[in-house]
Symmetry: C2
Subunit: 248 residues, 2 copies
């Protein structure tokens, strides 16, 4: 379908345009989009113009462009993200009310933990997670839960890759990570102290569907040396509740 001389597809060019928008770069000119997407200027201007025309991007008075509400609507209304999140939200609200710290729902996506939802407390511990943001599997408590229950091929791929250090407690040794994943499966939860940020500990449990397959990780971020009993019991109760909702 109308591939360019360089062989990239229509879908590839649309993807590259969308990827230039980030949580901290929400407005751009067509020229900036083209440069960041690695597209020729004329191609970028034409494609951005077309996407604005149909409402997938929006242009403001300064002719800067942002992601359109129409794109959000179409990407959300039929998505797995919305259904999982809706099933999980009441249980997440209960966790947040009990633990009074950030409460998050993540899934496995392209070898990372992708966060579908985050409920925040004004006085909660530091936490860098964002909705529609990602964290590495080996470093976040959610990622450890998802990786521990992932296919062996993915586990080996992560174990064989460079395990970047994000904070003082990040596991960077493959052998240590392998033991940690076995522990997560045995205990039924992951605790990651000082792994993403020195001051905080992530605590995560698996969320299963009716068949028992792990479809998400539910987590809270607490102070590094806070007690685990209350967060763990709240998370386990919530995961059971979400499983019941998903099984209906």
């Amino acid at each position: 379908m109308a591939n360019s001389p360089s062989g990239d597809s229509v879908a590839d060019r649309v993807l590259r345009v969308l990827e230039t928008f980030t949580p901290t770069r929400t407005m751009q000119t067509a020229a900036e989009i083209g440069r960041r997407a690695g597209l020729p200027s004329s191609t970028a201007h034409r494609l951005v113009g077309e996407l604005v025309e149909v409402g997938l991007l929006e242009r403001d008075q300064d002719r800067r462009v942002r992601v359109g509400m129409r794109l959000w609507e179409l990407a959300t209304r039929s998505s797995r993200a919305l259904r999982l999140r809706q099933a999980a939200l009441p249980a997440m609200e209960r966790v947040q009310a009990q633990v009074r710290e950030h409460t998050q729902l993540a899934i496995l996506e392209q070898d990372e933990a992708l966060f579908l939802e985050r409920l925040s407390s004004p006085d909660a511990t530091s936490n860098i997670t964002r909705i529609a943001g990602r964290l590495p599997l080996h470093a976040s408590s959610s990622g450890l839960v998802l990786l521990a229950h992932a296919e062996p091929e993915l586990q080996e791929r992560v174990l064989g890759s460079r395990l970047a250090r994000l904070a003082s407690g990040t596991i960077t040794e493959p052998a240590v990570l392998r033991r940690k994943l076995a522990e997560v499966r045995r205990l039924g939860h992951a605790v990651a102290p000082g792994s993403i940020e020195d001051v905080a500990t992530g605590v995560a449990v698996p969320v299963r569907d009716r068949s028992g397959t792990v479809v998400a990780a539910l987590s809270v971020v607490i102070e590094r040396h806070a007690r685990l009993d209350r967060p763990l019991s709240a998370l386990h109760a919530a995961a059971r509740e979400i499983r019941r909702t998903l099984s209906q």
Copy 2:
């Protein structure tokens, strides 16, 4: 850019593919997508294949296709929808805790009310709103608030269009709607009894940004003849709180 013989653009074809997915039609074959999008079969198969290749759509074992998590992520992470929703969520949770009925946030989008968030109570009144769903401006309480504060051109366009009856209380007369909009501006809220569903009343207030511009409507759906005082005071307090958050 690579327009087809019929003159539709690349962006137009991508839009038409995405529009075939709905809350009740989340999985389709490429052939179904092509038929519903009005695209030639070969075009549909090629475009769907490309979109799957880059992750904007996903294909399951049955070769059925759904909206990809990657598309949700890209459409969400930099969107106005997410920022407004994050600013509003703590206040919405307080409204829900006080009123114990569905609590919703909507914006004006393409002459309709588009719902960005909905918090539900298990024992709440009937409510057909969905996240990323839409309702007509003249019928929903959120829509009445958004329309009352919209540009005069939009108001005249809606007043000049057919005002469809959705339930026994829907306003279908232009003169009545005009008076209702004036009332909404004067009172600072909209009450729409039996307008979407006979059994329910929508109550909505405007959400303003720092400059005073109405950027959203915050609403609850209560039983048709329930008292309004408590919902109204909860909604007004929440709208003030959201405005403060948006002004930070």
